[in-house]
C-alpha cells in the first residue's frame, strides 16, 4: 500500500532523489501472527516477574552514576596502593647499606681494583663517615690484630702488595 508522498513533496525529494521517490513507500517488515495482541500482556508479565516498581529512584541514581562510582573506587584503591608502596620504600642510609656488605667482599673488591681506587677519594670518604676512632693505646692488643689477620686469611705479602 503506497503512502501519499506529502513529505516527499514538502522536502523536495522528487528533484533530489528521484530513484528513492520511485520506490513504493511500503512496510516490508512483518510480524508473527497475533504478536500485537499478546505484546501488552507479555510486557505486564515481565514487569510483574521482575518485581518492577515505578519510581525506584535510588537504584536509578546508582545506575545513572555507575561510571562515576567505579572511577571513584578505582582512584581510592590506587591512592591506597601508592601510599602503602611509598611507606615500604623508606630510604636506606648509605652507612646501613655499606654495613651490610661482608668485609671479605670489600677486601676482595679492593684487592682486585686497587689500581682504580683513588686514595684521596677514599680518604675524604673515611673522613666524612662519623666513626669514633678507638682511643689509641700503647697497650693495643697486638694479639687481637694478629687474630684478625689470621681469621681473615690476610697474608703479610698481601699487605705489602696493597701498600
Amino acid at each position: 500500500m503506497d503512502k501519499k508522498n506529502h513529505i516527499v513533496n514538502e522536502d523536495g525529494l522528487e528533484k533530489e532523489a528521484p530513484l528513492l521517490v520511485s520506490i513504493p513507500k511500503r512496510n516490508p517488515f512483518t510480524v508473527p501472527e497475533g504478536y500485537f495482541d499478546e505484546l501488552p500482556s507479555a510486557i505486564m508479565d515481565k514487569i510483574r516477574a521482575e518485581g518492577q516498581k515505578p519510581g525506584s529512584v535510588g537504584k536509578k541514581i546508582f545506575w545513572l552514576f555507575r561510571p562515576q562510582w567505579i572511577l571513584a573506587v578505582f582512584i581510592g584503591l590506587m591512592g591506597i596502593f601508592l601510599f602503602v608502596r611509598h611507606q615500604s620504600n623508606s630510604p636506606v642510609s648509605y652507612e646501613a647499606l655499606a654495613a651490610s656488605v661482608p668485609d671479605s667482599t670489600i677486601y676482595s673488591h679492593l684487592q682486585n681494583n686497587i689500581e682504580f681506587v683513588d686514595e684521596n677519594s677514599l680518604e675524604d670518604a673515611v673522613q666524612n663517615i662519623n666513626i669514633t676512632a678507638p682511643a689509641s693505646s700503647d697497650t693495643t692488643d697486638q694479639q687481637q690484630i694478629i687474630n684478625y689477620l689470621i681469621n681473615h686469611n690476610v697474608d703479610a705479602s698481601d699487605i705489602e702488595n696493597a701498600l
Binding site: K3, H6, I7, D11, L13, E16, A17, P18, L19, L20, I23, P24, K25, R26, N27, P28, F29, T30, V31, P32, Y35, F36, L39, P40, S41, A42, I43, M44, K46, I47, E50, Q52, K53, P54, G55, S56, V57, K60
Partner: protein, 183 residues
C-alpha cells in the same frame, strides 16, 4: 478503543495504585505499534526488536511517575525507544565482541534471511541503502520518510535542532540515491 483514551487520562489512572496496571496495559496497547515499527526499522530483526520494545516499555513503567509532561507522552516514549535501540546496537559493537562482519553487514544479511521481511528486490535495495547510513541519520530518515514526523517533534525525540535534522535528512536521501544508482 484504547486509542480513544487521552494521554492525560492514562497518566491520571496510572498514578492511582488500583488502576495502575490497567492504565499501563492500555498505554502499551495505544503505542505498541508505533514504537515497534520505529524500533524494527532500526534493529531489523523481529526477535531483537521485540526485546528492545519490551525493555522500552519496562523503562516507561519505571519512569512514568516522574514524567514531567514538558513534552508529549509519545515524544517521551519515542525517545526512550530510540535510546534503547542505539544502546542495543552499541552493545553489538562492544570492544570484547570481535565481529567477523560489521554490525551493518550483519543487519543487511538479516534482511535476506529474515522470515518476517517480505519485499521486492528494489525495496530490499532501499533497506540495504539505509543500513549504510550512520545510525542517527538512519533514525532521522525513518522518522521523517516513513512516520512523516514533523521536524519540531523529531527535535524533541532526538534532542537535536530542527536545522541539524533537516540537513541530516537531506544528506541521508542523497546517500540513498547514490547507493541505488550504483547498485
Amino acid at each position: 478503543m484504547s486509542e480513544e483514551i487521552s494521554d492525560n487520562e492514562l497518566l491520571e489512572q496510572f498514578r492511582i495504585e488500583s488502576t495502575r496496571n490497567l492504565a499501563f496495559h492500555m498505554l502499551v496497547t495505544k503505542y505498541q505499534k508505533r514504537v515497534y515499527w520505529q524500533v524494527r526499522r532500526i534493529i531489523i530483526d523481529h526477535d531483537d526488536a521485540n526485546d528492545v520494545v519490551q525493555n522500552t516499555f519496562i523503562k516507561v513503567w519505571k519512569n512514568l511517575d516522574g514524567f514531567k509532561e514538558a513534552s508529549r507522552l509519545y515524544t517521551w516514549i519515542y525517545r526512550i525507544a530510540t535510546n534503547e535501540s542505539l544502546t542495543f546496537l552499541k552493545q553489538k559493537r562492544a570492544p570484547l565482541y570481535i565481529p567477523f562482519e560489521s554490525v551493518e553487514r550483519g543487519l543487511s544479511r538479516k534482511l535476506t534471511d529474515d522470515n518476517f521481511f517480505k519485499a521486492e528486490e528494489i525495496e530490499k535495495k532501499l533497506q540495504q541503502a539505509m543500513l549504510t547510513l550512520p545510525e542517527k541519520q538512519r533514525i532521522v530518515f525513518n522518522l521523517r520518510y516513513y512516520d512523516e514526523m514533523p521536524y519540531e517533534e523529531m527535535a524533541g525525540v532526538l534532542e537535536t535542532s530542527v536545522g541539524a535534522l533537516k540537513a541530516s535528512y537531506h544528506h541521508a536521501a542523497k546517500k540513498i540515491e547514490e547507493f541505488l544508482k550504483n547498485n
